[in-house]
């Protein structure tokens, strides 16, 4: 049995948050397929300028999750339909501070989550990706 599901790219309503297009990288911000949305890893981008927005890790996480909310809402979904989150930190000792801000965005019944630390590019302190129900 082979089912053909439509696969379409997702774009933020705010074009400044289309970081992969701005940097001419070979990926899209997200893909919708069937009932699901798969987002690429998001980093802290200032929605006003489209520039990287660095500072305390709490600010970086808040900016990134705020942008993720915008990305999902642009596609007709929302943070409360997220099922799976990956949080990558440049410094694992930022875990507690990240978690404090994270809970502001997922106050009840939070999604499945995995957190780890890796090298990130351009001095980013965090990179966050998710899978969400489309609608």
């Amino acid at each position: 049995m082979t089912q053909r599901l439509p696969r379409s790219a997702i774009e933020p309503n705010n074009p400044r948050l289309n970081a992969s297009r701005s940097a001419k990288l070979p990926h899209v911000p997200g893909i919708r397929v069937g009932d699901y949305i798969f987002l690429s890893g998001m980093v802290p981008i200032d929605p006003q300028t489209g520039e990287r927005s660095h500072g305390p890790i709490a600010d970086q996480v808040r900016t990134t999750l705020s942008n993720m909310r915008h990305m999902l809402e642009s596609a007709g979904s929302s943070l409360d339909r997220v099922v799976r989150v990956h949080v990558v930190l440049a410094d694992i000792s930022d875990m507690a501070e990240m978690d404090r801000v994270y809970r502001e965005f997922f106050p009840v019944d939070p999604p499945a989550r995995t957190v780890w630390s890796m090298q990130l590019r351009f001095g980013n302190g965090c990179e966050i990706e998710c899978v969400a129900l489309a609608d």
Binding site: P26, F38, M118, Q119, L120, E129
Partner: protein
């Protein structure tokens, strides 16, 4: 190297190998990326899918300084629009420079 669940194929993290012999093919970030994506194309074809049905890719690199070298090869394999993707630098086993895993429409 891939498991089907419902409408999706979940492909394990692939390293650069010769698909016939299974031997590791260590090289540059660019050559390993090319080998992995060439193998991925063949694996997906055998599973009745294809690169243009890839939904989400995770790329692990031994050094994020190599990201441009990976991108240069990567962009030749995927149609427009390409899949969603995350790239991270990680400590990889056995001298491997690149690992690529993905989720694909079956």
């Amino acid at each position: 190297m891939a498991v089907r669940g419902g409408d999706f194929l979940f492909v394990s993290g692939l390293t650069a190998i010769d698909l016939q012999s299974g031997a590791a093919m260590r090289g540059t970030t660019a050559s390993e990326t090319r080998q992995i994506l060439t193998n991925l194309k063949e694996l997906l074809g055998k599973a009745g899918s294809s690169l243009d049905k890839v939904v989400k890719v995770n790329v692990l690199l031994h050094s994020m300084l190599e990201a441009p070298n990976m991108n240069e090869v990567y962009q030749r394999f995927f149609p427009d629009p390409p899949p969603a993707r995350t790239v991270c630098g990680a400590r990889l086993p056995d001298g491997v420079k690149v690992i690529i895993e993905c989720t694909v429409l079956a």
